[in-house]
Symmetry: C2
Subunit: 229 residues, 2 copies
DNA sequence: CGATGTTTTGAGAGGATTCAACCACAGTGG
DNA sequence: CCACTGTGGTTGAATCCTCTCAAAACATCG
């Protein structure tokens, strides 16, 4: 439950830039928490006062569209931070963050983060780089979703999920999502996901048992996805 | 052609945080340029060494999809800066920037910007806020493009273009785009844009003369767009 | 075991793309 | 001067991809 391992240590890509006293400052103000599947760290539209550093588990970040349909924008797992966008831009939260796999995280008040940005140039720069990378990924996804077919996008997402979360000892994707959640990433209907998954299964690209997905033919899937991984 | 007015002045949202000596530093290293319609500041995949601050005109930023189709991600006009994402994340440019309306801009070497981030906390914070706002917009657009129909998106874009660039004395949108460019924002086919525009025209929502678009019924268009402007 | 949520399958409707042909217009060069 | 060329805009028809709706199978859990 303590975030010292995955977050506030010298091995963390972002917090490694902090001095010992800055680390002490953050640690003395942080607030650990354990969150079960389905619980929400913050809701779209909330005023967020701090950031969350994820120590374990998986969080999904999504927006709610006009008809109430979720659009999943990204996931966050060990070492990643969420909520910083709203804290830094002084805007309301533009996403809801909900736990997918039971998660421990710690909350750090926004003033502390802003203080660190102002006083520690390396920290500021690293945080900026992180934000810029995320923006680059968002731009790519806009292009994909605007131009690719649902099937191409599903193939791409499956590859992405493997790269981001890896596989277990049986080569099964570590992250397991409902069909609806997959649909809410790809931006399509649940039924379409089901049809495409069973199509991939028939073509021997995947093996599926419930929510467990095993990629059998990575390169064919990669070809279908039309991307450059 | 001098960028002192729109960029490097105390009235600029970002550069106002600089001290006089920092402003002098940036001004002594900047490089002004005039760019005609169609000219490209940098291409997707380029390694960018500095940022461009736009003094006048309009630039479109787009990614090129698999089949060579452009996806326009945003526009930049007076006072805005482009290229900073790649400079700060140390990644290759993820977009191409092409001039739509003849533009003057000035180039500032990346090292200067990074130096300023490290040394001036307020500047760093403001730049971060700008990036975070852009990220928020990108997230919204992902949701829109994934969930809305092409018609809803077109209505939304038209409203957006009016809000961002305004209208002239005849109430005509100041930014004029080809049908293809509109299609490349909305994420649809050129023919679809043509059909939808003439549909809007028939319903007396718009008046169209070539590339000049005049919004006659803003609120109906806003209703169609299903958004919260 | 019933109750609830998830997954699956089918059929039909609808939105959007593609392809093709055609027009308008501006610029080029013989 | 006029044919030639290229770009941008328009329209129609056929096709295809996806969505929606509905119903049934399945799973999970208290």
């Amino acid at each position: 439950m303590d975030c010292a391992e995955n977050c506030f240590s010298k091995s963390h890509f972002l917090f490694k830039h902090l001095t010992d006293s800055e680390l002490d400052l953050i640690i003395s103000h942080k607030d650990d928490g354990l969150h079960k599947r389905g619980s929400v760290l913050y809701n779209e539209g909330n005023r967020i006062k701090g950031i969350y550093c994820i120590n374990s588990g998986i969080i999904k970040l999504f927006k709610t569209g006009v008809d109430g349909k979720e659009q999943i924008l990204r996931f966050a797992s060990a070492g990643e931070i969420i909520g910083y966008r709203s804290v830094l831009s002084s805007e309301l939260a533009c996403t809801t963050s909900e736990v997918i796999n039971e998660s421990t995280s710690c909350y750090v008040p926004g003033e502390i983060v802003i203080e660190l940005i102002k006083n520690n140039g390396d920290f500021a720069l690293e945080l900026m780089q992180m934000t810029c990378r995320e923006l680059g990924e968002a731009n790519s996804y806009i292009t994909d979703i605007a131009q690719k077919t649902a099937k191409e996008r599903l193939a791409e997402i499956l590859i992405h999920l493997k790269n981001e979360f890896g596989v277990d000892e049986n080569d099964v994707l570590k992250i397991s999502l409902t069909r609806e959640e997959l649909a809410n990433i790809v931006g399509t209907a649940t039924e379409s996901i089901i049809r495409m998954l069973s199509e991939f299964k028939q073509e021997k690209l995947l093996e599926i048992k419930g929510r467990n997905i095993k990629i059998l033919d990575f390169s064919s899937l990669n070809n279908i996805s039309n991307s450059f991984f």
